[in-house]
């Protein structure tokens, strides 16, 4: 009995030792891949950041209002942010590659999924970035047009424009990432429909006199009497 126990234990220890002997080199390889990945990722980060600084990307972002958005969210400058993003994506890619070297069966699927997900993540980031730029540009355009056209509540119009564009962009981003896409789609449809309905009701009931006056002026009297006392600028 005692001998059997000793023999089983020694066999188990031998198996563990053999397993460890087989696993350790893979672990070392994984660590080496991770280390090399870190170095490559760091170098890429430096290159991307320098390239963006050289092309004055921060100034472009400042002009388009992206920098202000990032500042409000306590995030670093766009060149630094993109540099860090490149670092983490590359390094994580290497780490995941290293993990796959370990040969753990369950992890293989996750590794494959990760690499399939990467392009979609990049597209989502692209949509998000340019979507935010578009939201800033169009909300500012609406604000200025409303101020110069002497419309009531220009800031409300501008914020509404921005909100609608951001909701639209978010729904696109989530759809691209495949995160709750149906929920987002339905949510966006409901939100957009509700806004339009609210505006229609507000204009039709709340401002029916204004609507009548506006339509009469446009259709019956034409556009003549906009401002009788406007001074000639030129």
């Amino acid at each position: 009995m005692r001998e059997m126990v000793v023999s089983e234990l020694s066999r188990a220890l031998r198996d563990i030792a053999q397993g460890a002997a087989r696993f350790l080199p893979r672990l070392v390889v994984m660590l080496l891949i991770a280390l090399a990945g870190w170095l490559i990722a760091y170098l890429l980060k430096v290159v991307v950041r320098s390239l963006l600084l050289w092309t004055k990307f921060d100034r472009f972002s400042e002009n388009t209002g992206t920098s202000q958005l990032l500042k409000r969210a306590a995030l670093p400058a766009p060149s630094e942010l993109l540099g860090r993003l490149v670092f983490w994506i590359v390094w994580l890619g290497f780490v995941v590659l290293g993990v796959s070297v370990l040969g753990i069966v369950g992890l293989q699927d996750y590794v494959a999924h990760f690499f399939l997900f990467l392009p979609r993540l990049l597209v989502a980031l692209f949509i998000g970035f340019f979507g935010l730029l578009a939201a800033t540009f169009f909300s500012r355009a609406v604000l200025l047009a409303a101020v110069n056209a002497e419309l009531p509540s220009p800031r409300l119009l501008s914020i509404s424009t921005r909100t609608v564009i951001i909701i639209f962009v978010l729904s696109m981003v989530f759809e691209d990432l495949g995160v709750a896409e149906h929920t987002m789609l339905v949510g966006f449809g409901i939100a957009f429909g509700a806004i339009m309905l609210a505006l229609a009701i507000a204009f039709g009931i709340g401002g029916k006199d204004l609507a009548r006056h506006f339509l009469e002026k446009k259709l019956v009297h034409g556009e003549k009497d906009e401002r009788e006392d406007e001074l000639s600028p030129l």
Binding site: N63, L144, V147, N148, A149, E150, E230, L231, L234
Partner: protein, 445 residues
Amino acid sequence: MSTEASTREPPSQPRTEGNSAEASFLTDDFLRQVMNVGEVDILVGLPTHNNAKTVGPIVEAVRAGILKWFPRERAVIINADGGSRDGTPDIVTGASIDDVRRGSKLYALRTLHAISTKYGRTPEAGTALRTILSAAELMRAKACVVVSPESTTVQPDWIQRLLRPVYNEHFDLVTPVYRRHMFEGLLMSNLLYPMMRAIYGVKVREPYASEFAFSGRLAGELVGRSIWSEESVRTSAEMSFTLAAITGGFRIHQVFLGDKSHTEHRASDLVAAIRRTVGTLFWTMGKNPADWMSAAGLQPLSTEGPEYELRVDPVRVNRKRLWQLFSAAVTDLEAVLRSVLSAATLSELQRIAKLEEDDFRYPADLWAQTVYEFADSYHKSVIDRDHILQALAPLFRGRIFTFLIENCNGTSAEEVENSVEALCFEFEKLKPYLVEMWRREVRIS
């Protein structure tokens, strides 16, 4: 007297050097007509678009002017039409010089030709002027004049007054001085004139003129430039033309014409006017900064007739509305203004925006500083350039409120002129501030 057949010059070939650009955008039919007419001494440019109601008397005035003061010169009217649908080109080309002769007992020794060409389906000031300049170069015109098809006050002697300095005294550009009401052309008197005078050192009263004359030399110089595809040149050719003459060192002269025709304006016209004029000025400054940075002092500019003539009769103006628009805009546009203006200027604007109507004043020095910071922001594209120009409109209304208060009814023309001079002085005083700001790569708030 000579008939058309006997007086027509032999058709001269268009210039071959440097005219490939013109040849590519002028229509074959137009080129054929230009070649048929040949060389001319005087060219009258008439850019039109659906001006059938007003263009008739203008053509008549032009013909009368040519007949009376330039009977021996070879002359042509070039109508550059932007797709009129009301028969405007037919009115221009259909009018006969005999109609003028009958009434005036004047006789021309040459034929006055009229050519019309359609350069596009929509009006575009830049293309219209480019067509006229190209024709002037091809026909080797000595002196050219452009007349607005909307000017209801054009007189036959305007043609002579504008053309004579170019034709006889070899000036390159003759700009007009109009008799205006003191509250008309406020963008001109409160921004364009003081700023251009301060930065370029030239006292051109009407940089955005409806009528102006120029030499064949200037036409030839400008038509060959690669500026015609630029947005600011296409939409505001008159302003670009004046600026090109100033920066190119051409000989400029001013001549008093008389009353400027009054056109009705709507609130939305202000932004469009700012785009056409201020936008073009800012764009030109950015294109060649050395032209204005190196300009020192005020250059003498000859003027025939009074340098200004103002009507001071009382008019009804809703000043309260201007003040309200300014105050509301400073609050609403805070985020935009923060990108465009320095912290000090913005805080000063916010301070005055809180003042009551009776206490509100937008001082000349603050206005000059604001405009210069807008110019610098436009140059550095801190936000979209068109947004910068749009943001200037409500601030301009605040300045106009102050101008109206300072020159209320009962003020003499001299006092109004003094007020404009004081503004010019502030613009001149702050020019070093603009230069310093311009040279910095980024705005330091």
